[in-house]
């Protein structure tokens, strides 16, 4: 059996005396959609931020794509092929869609800076290739016509898609989505569902999905991990997790009180 793409062991995040994420271990094989759920304050986003390298964290190991990430800063992890979106869409409002998505290609453009700035022959090959990739990914997402619009002129759903475009334009191995369905209409959620399946099946992407909308998570995840109070309380197929008494207790409270 192949080693998992992401192998996190005993990831722990402390804020002062509070343990926000308590020794959570997670192994995701390639081409899997993994749901990460839990009630409010369960530590899902904090766990996400730890994996991305945004918050200081402890842990026994954090291997990604065969490399040790435990002590790498966030930008090195991103460069290694780990990309994410945010709960509230984070785009540069003054930028066009093109510029915003090109930011996702920052490490994918290998042009020599001097050759690129001075316009030497071949100096812009990476930049122009990146622009092609942006156009392709926007068409894939069905928002090709927004290419040169400023993002503050787009609908909320379009902005969310632009953020996803920025995350996937460099074809990362792991895509981490933090509540991508938040604020979307049921129709948009359906499109998102189809999109994530295509990313897994056609692009071979591995997806870690934090989501509040349980219907979406249980529908598309291959496996689901449940956090509560910073601890992992269950892991399994969507059906197993949905039937797990510990999960029911965490979400609904203890019925026997």
């Amino acid at each position: 059996m192949n080693a998992p793409l992401l192998d996190a062991r005993d990831v722990t995040v402390r804020f002062g005396g509070l343990i926000a994420v308590d020794a959570v271990s997670l192994a995701i094989p390639e081409r899997e959609i993994r749901g990460l759920i839990g009630p409010n304050g369960a530590g899902k986003t904090t766990f996400f931020n730890a994996i991305s390298g945004l918050v200081p964290h402890g842990g026994a190991a954090l291997r990604f794509d065969g490399r040790d990430m435990l002590h790498l800063p966030a930008h090195r992890r991103a460069a290694a092929g780990m990309r994410r979106t945010f709960q509230s869409v984070q785009l540069v409002p003054q930028f066009t869609v093109l510029e915003n998505v090109l930011v996702g290609m920052h490490t994918g453009i290998a042009d020599n800076p001097a050759a690129s700035v001075l316009g030497l022959p071949g100096g812009n090959r990476g930049e122009l290739g990146a622009q092609r990739a942006v156009i392709e990914v926007l068409e894939f997402l069905g928002i090709g016509e927004t290419l040169l619009q400023r993002v503050n002129q787009l609908t909320f759903a379009q902005q969310r898609y632009v953020e996803i475009a920025r995350a996937i334009v460099g074809r990362p191995k792991l895509l981490m989505l933090d509540e991508p369905a938040a604020g979307l209409s049921p129709g948009d959620v359906k499109m998102l569902d189809a999109l994530l399946r295509r990313l897994r099946d056609e692009w071979g992407m591995t997806i870690l999905l934090v989501e509040h909308v349980l219907s979406l998570v249980l529908e598309i995840s291959d496996r689901v991990t449940v956090l509560d109070n910073g601890r992992m309380i269950a892991e399994g197929s969507p059906a197993e997790v949905a039937d797990d008494p510990a999960v029911k207790t965490a979400y609904l409270g203890n019925e026997n009180v």
Binding site: H75, R83, H106, E127, L147
Partner: protein
């Protein structure tokens, strides 16, 4: 201008030709003002990298300009180095010192960074005033006229033929840098450092680059300033110089390359136009600034872009070709 591509493409060369024609007929004083305006284009573009694009509130630009000016003035007048060597060297010296500004910018936010860089700026002026043995203190330094292929660059018209190509080159370089991934990284760290990091942008390195780049422009501008004035004193690089730099960028338009140029021209010309109204000069100057900032938060360039007079600025190379391909 967006609808008239020939006008957009021809604008810069035509402007240069017009300036050269003007140099044939202009009197020495007018030529001096034109030279100053061109130098402030370099200064303004440099500050806009830092303040506008990368959003770093640093206040050392005037001091770094002074460092550039003194590097050129002292090395040419006291060690008899060639001006043509000192010009790029002034940029490099300023860039090396300016890059240090990135250190406090790693950890501090806005107001603290502003205070630290302001303290640095005051320190530089203090050193220029008090380190008499080297800087000649408040007596100032004479800048000898440089030689170019046996031709002596003396007088405002001669200086103009040095300043114009330098400004054109610096402006072109700025445009090329901004349209690359480096320029987009500047704006991304201004907007959200977390987003920058999660997209593989090394924030520390990007800040170092933008502080050094901005200071390089200040240093080149300072060197040309020393050449134009022929005589410099420490006081020229104090607080009022700094206020002028900020005014240029804010009035012209943050996040706009042409804005910095427009701001430079307007703020060099405006005090001269008001020269006949000596008593009112400062008041009108201040009022114009306040009104512009209140009425046009995007500066003059923002307004002109909205009217379609100025072309859009998109930080991607050849984006217009892309726009034509994708209907």
């Amino acid at each position: 201008m967006e609808r008239l591509p020939w006008l957009r493409r021809g604008f810069a060369p035509v402007l240069c030709v017009l300036l050269v024609l003007l140099a044939q007929v202009a009197d020495s004083y007018t030529q001096y003002i034109v030279n100053l305006a061109l130098i402030y284009v370099v200064i303004g573009v440099g500050l806009n990298f830092l303040l506008g694009y990368a959003g770093q509130f640093a206040f050392a630009h005037a001091a770094l300009m002074g460092i550039g000016a003194y590097t050129t003035a002292l090395l040419t007048s006291r060690l008899y180095w060639s001006f043509w060597l000192c010009l790029p060297l002034s940029g490099v010296v300023a860039a090396a010192l300016g890059a240090l500004g990135a250190l406090p910018a790693m950890r501090m936010k806005r107001v603290y960074l502003a205070l630290v860089t302001l303290a640095f700026a005051q320190l530089v002026v203090w050193v220029l005033v008090n380190w008499n043995v080297v800087t000649l203190g408040t007596d100032g330094v004479d800048v000898p006229a440089p030689m170019l292929f046996g031709w002596r660059v003396k007088g405002d018209t001669s200086v103009f033929y040095v300043v114009l190509p330098c400004t054109a080159l610096m402006y072109w370089l700025a445009k090329r840098i901004l349209e690359s991934r480096i320029g987009r990284a500047f704006v991304t760290i201004r907007e959200n450092e977390i987003v920058a990091r999660c997209n593989g942008i090394n924030v520390a390195r990007t800040k170092t680059v933008v502080f050094a780049l901005s200071a390089f422009y200040a240093g080149i501008g300072g060197s040309l300033y020393a050449l134009t004035l022929g005589f410099i004193v420490p006081d020229a690089f104090g607080l009022s110089q700094l206020v002028l730099h900020f005014s240029i960028v804010v009035l012209g338009g943050l996040l706009s390359l042409s804005g910095a140029a427009i701001g430079a021209v307007v703020l060099t010309a405006l005090p001269e136009l008001l020269r006949d109204l000596q008593a009112l000069q400062e008041i009108i100057y201040g009022l114009v600034l306040m009104v512009v900032i209140l009425v046009m938060p995007q500066g003059i360039a923002g307004l002109l872009k909205r009217w379609g007079v100025l072309p859009r600025e998109v930080l991607a190379r050849n984006w217009r070709a892309l726009a034509r391909e994708t209907p």
